[in-house]
């Protein structure tokens, strides 16, 4: 069986070891579920007949069952994926029954004596037959080199895919190899610099690509696919899917279309130029850069029951914006993490918090949780509980809202976790029902001051 030599295309010397064959073209389509579709285009030249073609440099995390090999004039007989790594112990093990050369070195003189030996066993030590003698390798601890004439085909320095083919005539043509691989993933990361005084933020979106596949892809054409591909890989796939779907920060769903290329239910983010994606590399590519996005800040506090506290509850700080064209950001946003920055007194952006967003269609409204306000808090007090009957109670609540900031703030206070029937009997500030079991009040708290809200609620079932 002969081996086919790849026609070596030139690659940047830096990236590859000397004998790794190169791709003429390589395309990666990376899904944000830790999976990628990889296509290698290589030139093959081979004589006629049955032979083996090796594809070194494929992803070490290849899913062999997804491999497809297409070359017009060759017939595929079988394909193998060898990941038996070449180590000294494996080399010796595979040499059982065959001959090696043993070079003994005289430690005093350095004089070498060469002998041919047959390897008999490698279990618990290496047993050799030298001529008619049987010996254990280096039992005397004296130096002895073992020379192997050849490395078995299926022992590799790296995992290698090989196909057994039959060519009816000599070939010199382009072959395509495609497969799915794990170990490649991407996510969107957003950087928002929020200017509270102007009520706007600048927003940058980055695609962060991670290559843990064990392989470096040189000068690849890459595109990234945003969407929820369902993968049958046990429970993890399902929960991952659920997790990405959950999107608690989205306050209104958008219905705007954008110019972004689509493929079925997925959005495509192509990387403009050819890119080298090294193993263990994290690469970021910009896909969104918007300034002057209308953004506001809000404070929210939610209480789930009726109780007094000794320590006040800090208000949640939320950053509200829409990814609509009107608000200055007409782009759908693939699932990812938004990191928010605010400039300090010296004008330097400082990190103030982060939140997750799901795949968000354009025109949606988002309210990201940034953190808890140091200076805005609410202290609840249960003033009185009165039973109306055994299924109905009245609660007098008083809330003290404090603001230690130098500007007035509006706090949205929510009382939820109510029973089936509930009503507000008295309130010091006009509130609103937010859903079947919650009410909300918007309370203005003056700068360096406090406000209070008193509410009487009837709760029944």
């Amino acid at each position: 069986m002969r081996r086919i030599l790849w026609c070596l295309a030139m690659v940047p010397a830096a990236a590859l070891a000397a004998d790794t064959p190169a791709d003429r073209e390589i395309s990666l389509t990376i899904y944000n579920k830790g999976i990628a579709l990889i296509e290698h285009v290589r030139q093959i030249s081979a004589p006629a007949g049955r032979q083996r073609i090796e594809f070194a440099g494929v992803s070490a995390q290849i899913a062999p069952e997804t491999v497809s090999f297409i070359a017009p004039s060759v017939e595929l007989i079988e394909q193998n994926f060898d990941y038996d790594l070449l180590t000294p112990a494996k080399l010796m093990e595979k040499a059982v029954g065959s001959k090696v050369r043993l070079i003994r070195v005289n430690p005093a003189t350095g004089a070498e004596t060469a002998e041919v030996a047959e390897v008999l066993s490698t279990v618990g030590g290496t047993v050799l037959r030298i001529g008619t003698r049987i010996e254990v390798l280096r039992e005397d601890s004296l130096p002895a080199r073992v020379i192997f004439d050849k490395v078995p085909d299926n022992l590799r320095a790296q995992p290698t895919l090989s196909v057994l083919v039959n060519a009816s005539k000599p070939v010199n043509e382009t072959a395509r190899l495609t497969y799915l691989s794990r170990g490649l993933d991407w996510n969107a990361d957003y950087v928002a610099v929020f200017d509270e005084a102007k009520g706007e933020s600048s927003m940058q979106g980055w695609i962060t690509l991670q290559n843990q596949s064990g392989t470096t892809f040189v000068n690849a054409r890459a595109q990234l696919v945003a969407g929820d591909v369902n993968l049958v890989n046990g429970e993890e796939g399902y929960w991952e899917y659920q997790r990405q779907r959950r999107n608690a920060n989205q306050r209104a769903v958008g219905v705007e279309s954008t110019a972004r290329a689509q493929l079925g239910d997925y959005y495509l983010y192509p990387i403009k130029q050819l890119t080298t994606i090294a193993n263990n590399q994290t690469k970021q590519v910009s896909f969104l850069d918007a300034a002057g996005v209308k953004t506001s800040k809000g404070y929210e506090v939610t209480f789930h029951g009726f109780e007094s506290r000794d320590q006040p509850e800090s208000a949640e700080v939320r950053m509200r914006f829409a990814n609509s064209t009107a608000a200055g950001l007409g782009e759908q946003l693939p699932s990812g993490v938004v990191r928010v920055y605010v400039r300090d007194a010296r004008g330097q952006p400082q990190f103030v918090g982060e939140d997750h967003i799901g795949h968000t269609s354009a025109g949606s409204e988002l309210a990201l949780k940034i953190g808890d306000a140091f200076d805005v808090s609410v202290l609840p007090t249960l003033v009185a509980t009165r039973p109306v009957n055994r299924r109905s109670y009245e609660y007098d609540m008083s809330y003290l809202l404090r603001n230690a900031r130098s500007t007035p703030v509006v706090v949205t206070l929510r009382q939820d976790g109510l029973w089936r029937q509930n009503e507000v009997l008295k309130e010091s500030v006009k509130g609103r029902r937010t859903d079947a079991d919650s009410f909300a009040w918007d309370i203005t708290v003056p700068a360096n001051g406090a406000s209070s809200l008193t509410v009487t609620l009837r709760n029944s079932w």
């Binding site: 030139m10 940047p12 000397a18 790794t20 003429r24 790594l85 070449l86 180590t87 000294p88 112990a89 070195v105 005093a108 003189t109 350095g110 490698t122 030590g125 390798l137 280096r138 080199r145 073992v146 490395v151 929020f194 000068n219 130029q273 050819l274 090294a278 193993n279 263990n280 994290t282 690469k283 590519v285 910009s286 029951g305 009726f306 109780e307 007094s308 990812g336 993490v337 605010v342 300090d344 007194a345 952006p349 400082q350 990190f351 103030v352 918090g353 982060e354 997750h356 949780k369 940034i370 953190g371 808890d372 140091f374 805005v376 249960l382 509980t385 039973p387 109670y393 609660y395 230690a404």
Partner: protein, 551 residues
């Protein structure tokens, strides 16, 4: 003539548009650096770097960024050009990675005969390098490295490009005007922490001097010279690193209590320190070579390596004790305090002078120094009516320290969370009288800390109650008579607060009668008694309430 040129042209014709190779510009270090440390074990590092950019496409590399950099957070600004991509691929140069990345490369193998000292040098190629050993090819054939018993030294021609001595972040920039630019590189990095600690000294029974200290820690291997350092106080929303967030201690939103979060932070910090100490211990003087051989005689690899070490006279690098590496530096003085500014909805404290923040260093700075803060030292005990059957207990109340965070009380400053330790003058010098966690406290909020259990002060609590089923609605109506004797065996007068807890399971609560004035405190009923030295006083009250039994 470049022999590769025709092939290059061919490829250019075949493949998709291939950009001209960018020119690499390396920025070896930052001109200035700012480190903002957060409580949740990370920091924002902002560097300014001056670079000379040629007009063509540029690969701009920033050397010496912090090794724990979170790549997704990296931002490179002020380049004046379109940024095509950013890359972070730090693979540290180690003996093992050097072998692994040199597969397929030529090396020079030097063999030294033990007895004669005769040296043989042969060129070889590394065929395979895995955790289980190295296979090389010499002119004789394939051999395993370090298995023959002959001392073998491998000499590499160059360090593979993938390996770097220092972590490096690089960006590809589109073409633009040539010239000098000052760019800003910022990123989040793990391995930093800060906390605050308070020292209170009672100067008079109701006055305390209060100092607040920032303790900053750099647990990374990166040192910052002349850095601008600040810390951020407040609770940021952070996601777990597993979900591509920043927090190594899980999503911050998942913590119900501040105390729970504190404990986890402290544990995580301790873990990092332990890991570092272990990593240092693991290094036992042998370089971490990829080692493994086929089975052979009575020699094990480590021993044969040891023999080589002895013959060649190379000794292990005697590593120091982990603790020696950390240094504690206290920089606080009355004159130089961290300066506070408000940042979004948090507090930011800035060290007003540039400082050297060394690798594995702990640094302290003063951020609060207040004299004669008005405090109240009192004793407190809470009663829950639901426990009332017939009580006859002897209890000792808790020592509390109350303070109002107001200008009028001599304070009125944001107080970031930390442990307050109280000291008071005693006959034999200063006494430690207890500590408690002070949570984030805004101006005008009140603080109450629990310092200790009381000594020489006891409560004799007697309560008897009658329950009667209320006819109409069926709730239990209870009338309780409480008699609480407070015995003060101390030589000083004390204030004692008795709280009657009220909550949603207690309806229509009413103090029918009491021998001291009844107050309301956070929804509870409360009584305060001033008990003179070496005397006893008694609180009596009668409470009526209905217990709610939810169906």
């Amino acid at each position: 003539v470049n022999p590769r040129l025709p092939l290059l042209l061919l490829l250019a014709a075949l493949g998709p548009a291939r950009a001209a190779a960018p020119i690499e510009v390396i920025s070896p270090r930052a001109d200035s650096v700012s480190v903002t440390i957060y409580r949740d074990l990370f920091a924002l590092v902002t560097e300014t770097r001056t670079v000379d950019l040629p007009d063509g496409p540029v690969k701009l590399s920033f050397d010496g960024v912090v090794e724990t950099l979170l790549p997704a957070s990296a931002v490179v600004a002020d380049t004046g050009r379109v940024l095509d991509e950013a890359n972070f691929d730090y693979e540290q140069l180690t003996p093992g990675s050097l072998f692994r990345r040199s597969v397929g490369r030529e090396i020079l193998l030097t063999r030294t005969m033990r007895g004669s000292g005769k040296v043989v040098q042969v060129p070889a190629t590394i065929v395979s390098a895995t955790d289980d050993g190295v296979v090389i090819r010499t002119r004789d054939g394939n051999e395993a490295l370090h298995c023959s018993g002959i001392p073998e030294q491998v000499t590499f021609e160059k360090i593979p490009d993938e390996l770097q001595q220092r972590p490096r972040l690089s960006v590809l920039l589109a073409r633009g005007a040539a010239g000098r630019r000052t760019v800003r590189v910022s990123y989040l990095a793990h391995g930093f922490a800060w906390k605050s600690d308070y020292v209170g000294r009672l100067t008079r029974p109701n006055r305390m001097d209060l100092q607040g200290w920032l303790t900053l820690r750099n647990l990374t291997n990166t040192s910052f010279a002349g850095a601008q350092v600040q810390v951020v106080a407040g609770r940021l929303n952070l996601l777990d690193v597993e979900d591509r967030g920043t927090s190594v201690i899980g999503a911050i939103g998942s913590y119900q209590s501040e105390q729970g979060l504190n404990d986890v932070r402290a544990e995580a910090l301790e873990e990092i320190r332990e890991e570092q100490a272990e990593a240092e211990e693991d290094y036992d003087g042998y370089p971490q070579l990829l080692s493994g051989c086929y089975p052979m005689g009575p020699h094990d690899l480590r021993r044969s390596y040891e023999m080589q070490t002895i013959t060649t006279g190379i000794q292990g690098f005697g590593g120091g004790d982990g603790d020696e590496l950390s240094e504690i530096m206290v920089t606080g003085m009355r004159a130089s305090m961290a300066v506070k500014e408000s940042l979004a909805d948090y507090q930011l404290y800035r060290l007003p002078w540039p400082t050297d923040l060394q690798a594995r260093q702990t640094k302290q700075a003063l951020f609060l120094d207040k004299r004669a803060v008005k405090v109240e030292r009192f004793y407190s005990w809470s009663l829950d009516a639901l426990d009332y059957q017939a009580i006859d207990d002897l209890e000792s109340p808790l020592l509390k320290l109350g303070l109002e965070n107001r200008k009028s009380s001599g304070l009125g400053e944001p107080l970031p969370e930390g442990v307050l330790r109280l000291f008071e003058p005693g006959a034999m010098g200063e006494l430690f009288s207890g500590e408690d966690t002070l949570y984030d406290t805004a101006v005008n909020e009140d603080v109450e800390l629990t310092l200790a259990g009381a000594v020489d002060l006891s409560l004799d609590i007697r309560i008897d109650s009658d329950s009667a089923r209320k006819e109409k609605d069926g709730n239990n109506v209870t009338l309780a008579n409480a008699e609480i004797m407070i015995a003060n065996a101390k030589g000083v007068p004390v204030t004692v607060e008795i709280r009657q807890t009220l909550h949603r399971y207690i309806a229509n609560a009413q103090v029918v009668r009491a021998n001291h004035r009844t107050l309301r405190k956070h929804g509870d009923y409360a009584w305060r008694l001033r008990v003179p030295a070496n005397t006893a006083d008694t609180l009596t009250f009668r409470l009526r309430w209905e217990e709610i039994v939810e169906d």
